[in-house]
Amino acid sequence: MAEINIRDVRKSYGRTQILHGVDLDFKSGEFVVILGPSGCGKSTLLRMIAGLEEISAGEISIDGRVVNDLEPRDRGCSMVFQNYALYPHMNVAANIGYALKVAGVPRAERQRRIAETARIVGLEDFLDRKPAQLSGGQRQRVAMGRAIIREPKVFLFDEPLSNLDAKLRVQMRVEIRRLHKRLSATSVFVTHDQVEAMTLADRLIVMNKGHVEQVGTPLEIYHRPRTRFVGSFIGSPAMNFFESTVAADGNFVLLDGIRVAIDAALGSANAGNAVAIGIRPEHCRLITAGTANSIPAVVDFVEELGAGRIVHVEIDGQDFAVAMDEGQLWEAGSTVGLQLPAQHIHLFSLETGLRLDDVPSLKRTMKTTVAA
């Protein structure tokens, strides 16, 4: 159980800066997921917390103690690596117990704790095997066992599920969450998979190009993406965007010459501004062509998902994805009406990419609005 405070942390290799001043606070016992596309600096940040990467500028403290100059072993963190990083010449028991052996824990005690850990991660029957004789999921469990046996204050996960097949990934995700519930150590989990991020996180941090884009609960981030990037990165299929200008005299934007209503307060505040309008596929509606308040669109093609379908329609050369449940079938090539409900429309500044209805007092280093 430990708090982690990150103060204006930067990382640069030579002249290239890859983290541009990150400020974050992780509460004790929290499960934090850092999400971002590859190359956004999320793994670097995690490795800086672990002590595997030097901190170019700024300060990281764990439990109130600045750890910038501490060796990894003195930081009280343990880490699960993407490729598991198991010691290939040691069997499962030796892998799990290595940290205790290094720490000089007596043999009997060590064996007791190895057995206990193996039970937690479900590896009792595999203690004599070498890593090469294990399946991917079992190796993953060894890596977790090795991390938990030290009873660390902080767990760090570096994309630990990305080498597993889809089914196993779902299963391990549940196990990680269960493990966290049981051990309740502060956990930081890095991933580029938004489903992992949404399902695991108490709090989600979205990063892009070395900046923190948004911090919040998964639902906050889904419903109120703070930037255009976050809006487009979270959600599958991705948010639809089109660019337009807020009408100078009214609360609407034009799409293919047709008015699309937007929030009245927003419209008057941003009259005349160039904006990017985002709306999630699951919030769009398709109706019969010609209905009032709808934009005529041509159905391009339909993706069947079984439980629902995604209909791609085209308006003025622009593709819109509409997610819908089973129900009415739309033929490719037919003309339909697209409705964009005003309450689900997100407005982003075309220039800065920032959300326009953000309360202005919230700065880039925002706090969550909902108590976790």
Partner: protein, 317 residues
Amino acid sequence: MSGPSYFLVYDRNAGPVDLMNKRAVFKSWWLPMAFALPQLLLIFFFFYWPATSVLTWAFSLEPAFGGVGERLFVGWDNFRDVFADTEYWRSVSLSLFFAFSATALSMFIAFVLAICVDRQLKGSGLFRFFYIWPYAIAAPAVGLAFRFIFAPESGLIAVVNTWSPDLWNPAKFGSHAMILVIVCFAWKWIGYNFIFMTAGLQSIPRSLIEASAMDGSGPVRRAFDLQIPLLAPTLFFLLVLNLTESFVGPDTYGIVDLTTEGGPNKSTDVMVYRIVSEAFRGLNYSGAAAQSLVLIALIMLFTFIQFRYVERRVHYK
């Protein structure tokens, strides 16, 4: 004609030609012979001829000044003479001592250097470059350089003799001379060992090292728990090579010849040096030939033991 099509080239006269499976047939016999001859001659003059000579000399009494007289077949007499000579047994034990010490020293230092470079401490790229150099220098050149460095009266090391006379004098003390040749050999072979160890260490995934760092082990502990076991195949290969090379290799001869010439008082008279000097200075071809055969047998035994008993303990991934 089957085979991978990417080896196909187009010949103006013959059409597509498969280079991999092409069977060229020479129309005459002398052209292929002319191509093969230089290599065949080299092998004949520098391998088969000497090898058969050694075999015949070892079992006969070879006249010292050329094969004019009658060659007398003497059976195992040459070997009996060699084995009866206490000097010979001293040379064997000197060789063994030299081989094990030089190998241990060279591999140990190379390992420490490779580990340091692998940690990517500051400037390690530059050091990696320089550490490899010594191997590129011919052994006699190394010997000559070390002869000057370690000359007791005028070398760089001469200063120690001003602290206390004869603190270092390889011309006088056998032990000093032995240290000198061991250091020379080790110095030269550190570069070679270093290359292989560095390559081996680089093939250990970085995340393993990081995981062990997270698990709390420092650099020394890590070397013993992780790097040595994972490097074992490389280390075994280098062990065989170093032992063989130091036991019979031309480097050993070159270094001994240019630094101590087997002295003082034959205290660095290792087997290779003894064979050459007995054959070409003592003109005892038969004795030297017998010793050569014994040396070959010893090396075979050595290598056999290593593969039989050491390799088993090597953990191949």
